[in-house]
């Protein structure tokens, strides 16, 4: 049974790669994820706090045990059973703490119940008579992780992964198939031939199936429990990945004569020295610095694998198949190219390019670490927002540990007294997203999140920031104009864009109201996010008002671009 990684979209960290095919996207994601494995390469150590709320569940017992076993030998990583309600920690493996803990990864592991509605597979002969009847079990594990920096209490990563067994539609190949529970006496169980019953009287068949399911439930759970253990490797692999702590510098790409030739180019040289600690086998990421009418921004190009390191430079090969043509074109066009160890460093550099000075430091009002995750994730995805965790008193333990005298030689002072104070408190109230300024006690805004099935707190938060701090979405340039119609344009927002977002285009007209002149917005078009360019710049396809927007531009009218919230 194979297990595969189901990636939740959209995610701030993979925003660059969403315009490409899913296959290529997954390759890049896997490769870039490798560049982030930083355990045991730093002067600090890491802790995984595993929520024990599911540990007593008989279905989960073997999976928990296997995860604990697999993590036993990982150097620099400590594992503790964590009680989310009482905040108690129970360390496993008795590993001695060698250096201070710099990162804490909170994790919550659950099984997805696929048994309550599990269907019965019926194999029939040519006359329609049942030959075999069996349940085929699909196993699925949901892993939610949150990484918090001990130094600042800042949430630096939130992820949700679902590990699921491949759904198989083929007939069972062998009686020993692990995902199958065979119903030996199916005629007895159904009071007749189940296939015929299903055909002739579906209601009765369904009622009897419910009873059969109930009878076999203990067996089904036992088998599911065995199947869940197969996901332990994938879960542990995710748990061992930690975001880098240090923000690395931008490496400049050194051009050589072959680099403009797409047949010859396969690697790039960049100015990493031994001080940068770049090692052969590690992955680095190539970006292009793009200038849109004075708005500089990073555009993701491709991942590279470091091949050689030297005194003055290092050489890295293209990590994915293809991409040579695009790379050679960039070299020919003398594009400004930079490389980074990881995406966090690239994001920091992108902020520098945008001359972004300060982040908005926010906290979420909630009652537990994994509560209000939709709101917290939405805020975490915004490029200039730092989310601080305030519901984990466990962090204080690690802050106190860093103060121990025995860690002084390990640079523990780097972890001390650098906590981030919350400036804005965000919370949900009666279908609204509300934010309060901690400094003054003022409510800075209240927004209704759009969305039919689930509320989109990301857009509500962006709107709230945009309105409160007057940082509107900026039009950068027209991208495609054809036959008097605007097909697409480039826009920039300090709070970023995500897949599926739509922005309205409005014309501003003056209206005299008493002695005042107030700007009135008249909607003239609609556009869809079509292609990410960087964290804050994206291309939008015009959905409605292609002609009207272009005409308004040509007539010099003032246009504004805003998220549409009814």
């Amino acid at each position: 049974m194979q297990s595969h990684l189901k990636v939740k979209l959209p995610d701030r960290n993979n925003v660059y790669t969403q315009n490409i095919s899913m296959k290529k996207y997954l390759i890049i994601l896997a490769v870039t994820a490798l560049s982030r494995i930083s355990y045991a390469q730093n002067e600090f150590e890491y802790t995984i706090l595993k929520n024990n709320s599911t540990k007593a569940d008989p279905v989960m017992v073997p999976l928990h045990a296997q995860i604990e076993d697999l993590l036993a030998d990982t150097e620099g990583v400590h594992l503790a059973d964590w009680d989310e309600k009482t905040h108690k920690l129970n360390y496993m493996h008795n590993k001695k703490l060698q250096r201070p803990i710099a990162l804490v990864k909170f994790c919550d592991i659950r099984w997805i119940n696929t048994l309550n509605n599990i269907d019965l597979t019926l194999v029939t002969d040519t006359t329609g008579k049942t030959k075999e009847a069996y349940f085929r079990i699909t196993s699925e594990v949901k892993l939610v992780t949150k990484q918090v920096e001990v130094k600042t209490s800042q949430i630096i990563d939130i992820k949700q992964n679902n590990f699921k067994s491949e759904p198989r539609t083929s007939l069972r190949s062998d009686k020993k198939d692990r995902d199958i529970i065979l119903i030996e006496k199916f005629v007895e169980e159904f009071g007749g031939d189940p296939a015929k019953l299903k055909k002739d009287n579906f209601d009765t068949y369904n009622k009897r199936l419910v009873k059969v399911r109930e009878k076999y439930m203990p067996q089904l759970k036992e088998r599911l429990s065995e199947l869940l253990v197969l996901h332990a490797g994938s879960v542990v692999d995710q748990l061992k990945r930690f975001e880098p702590l240090n923000i690395g510098r931008a490496y400049q790409v050194i051009r050589d004569p072959d680099s403009a030739d797409e047949k010859k180019i396969k690697s790039v040289t960049f100015d990493a020295t031994p001080n940068d600690h770049v090692k052969a086998g590690e992955y680095v990421l190539l970006y292009e610095v793009v200038d849109f009418n004075g708005h500089k921004s990073l555009r993701y190009v491709s991942p590279f694998r470091v091949d050689e390191t030297g005194e003055k430079s290092a050489k890295a090969d293209l990590a994915s198949l293809g991409g040579k043509k695009a790379l050679a074109e960039l070299m020919r066009n003398k594009a400004e190219l930079v490389m980074f160890d990881d995406k966090r460093s690239a994001l920091a550099y992108d902020k520098q390019l945008r001359r972004e000075k300060e982040d908005y430091i926010v906290g979420v009002k909630k009652s537990c670490v994994f509560c209000n995750m939709d709101l917290e994730t939405s805020l975490y995805q915004l490029p200039i927002v730092k989310v601080v965790e305030r519901n984990a008193p466990e962090l204080v333990i690690f802050q106190k540990l860093a103060k121990l005298e025995r860690f002084i030689d390990y640079g523990s002072e780097e972890l001390l007294n650098k906590q981030l104070g919350v400036k804005y408190l965000f919370y949900k109230e009666e279908e609204r997203l509300v934010a309060t300024d901690i400094e003054t006690g003022r409510i800075i805004g209240s927004e209704r999140p759009p969305g039919w099935l689930s509320a989109n707190y990301g857009i509500a938060a962006k709107n709230l920031f945009i309105d409160t701090f007057e940082r509107p979405i900026k039009f950068i340039k027209n991208e495609e104009v054809s036959k008097g119609k605007l097909k697409s344009f480039i826009a920039q927002s300090d709070f970023g864009f995500l897949f599926g977002e739509s922005i309205g285009v409005y014309e501003l007209v003056d209206e005299k109201v008493g002695n005042k002149v107030i700007k009135r917005k008249q909607e003239i078009g609609d556009s869809w996010f079509s292609k990410p360019i960087s964290d804050t710049v994206a291309e939008f396809k015009v959905k409605r008002g292609e002609k009207e927007i272009l005409e308004a531009q040509q007539q010099g009218k003032t246009l504004v671009f805003e998220y549409k919230i009814k």
Binding site: L420, E429, I438, E439, T440, G441, R442, V513, R520
Partner: protein, 268 residues
């Protein structure tokens, strides 16, 4: 000479203060809803059902005032979190990190308090003037119900708050201009109220004009209602289209005369 400069400085300072205060935003805070019995004329606790429905009223009030540029809404519900966070930031752990400024908490000019009469199903929202220590004004409404229970409570509360706005703070909504008419009847008006005032389609408004009435020696301003209308479309933060439902001819005649028409929300 020094005295003269001092006097000029003092006068100009006072003038500036007057200007600032006359244009400054009003700080408003919202308190929890309380149960009330008109039979016993005493406070009574809300039962679970009423508590879960009417517990939302303060949140609707916060939502109403928080995007209105005439007001600054002060958060009193989360005072515990705010105080906790500020105290936390005073500790050594934040010495080289990021902290907000201490001692900048803001007080309130007005308090909004809502009462629910459990005997008559009437909601009362009142605005209390903190400095004057008196109720400035209030709005009372027997809540509309249907077979499912109370009809859209948010909409009913917003209507009451719009009414309070015009009563307490003289903030009438100006009619900007007429958008369409048929024969002698005005059809649609553009009014200066939009999303920021939490106006929604279907909200009902009185259209009125200010007329001066001589009462003895005094001249008193009277609001003469000339028509009624309901919101057909909310255009943006500041503007909506009002469809006239009553008094269309009078409205057109007044507009043609150049009369400044105004609107006020009506919860009826």
């Amino acid at each position: 000479m020094k005295k003269c400069f001092f006097s000029i400085g003092l006068i100009s300072g006072l003038l500036m203060l007057c200007c600032i205060s006359s244009y400054s935003q009003k700080r408003i805070g919202v308190y929890n809803v309380a149960g009330f019995s008109s039979k016993t004329n005493a406070y009574s606790s809300l039962n679970n059902q009423n508590g879960s429905v009417f517990g939302a009223v303060p949140a609707y009030c916060v939502d109403f005032y928080s995007n209105n540029s005439d007001f600054i809404t002060i958060d009193r519900k989360n005072i515990y979190f705010i105080t906790f966070e500020k105290e936390l930031q005073k500790t050594e752990n934040f010495m080289d990190g990021y902290v907000v400024e201490q001692g900048k908490s803001e007080g309130m000019d007005y308090l909004v308090q809502s009462l629910f009469d459990t005997d008559t199903y009437t909601l009362i929202i009142q605005v209390f003037d903190v400095k004057e220590e008196r109720v400035l004004c209030s709005s009372e409404k027997k809540l509309d119900k249907n077979f499912l229970g109370i009809k859209d409570l948010r909409q009913q509360v917003n209507g009451m708050l719009l009414e309070i706005n015009s009563k307490c703070f003289e903030s009438s909504i100006p009619v900007v201009r007429m958008l369409s008419f048929k024969g002698k009847k005005a059809k649609e008006l553009l009014v200066a109220a939009g999303k920021d005032l939490r106006v929604r389609s279907g909200y009902k408004f009185d259209i009125f004009m200010n007329v001066e009435e001589k009462v003895g020696d005094k001249t008193i301003s009277r609001k003469e209602v000339v028509g009624k209308g309901s919101i057909a479309k909310v255009e943006d933060e500041n503007f909506s289209i009002l469809e006239i439902t009553d008094g269309a001819e009078v409205v057109l005649a007044e507009i043609n005369k150049g009369t400044q028409l105004l609107c006020r929300a009506t919860s009826k």
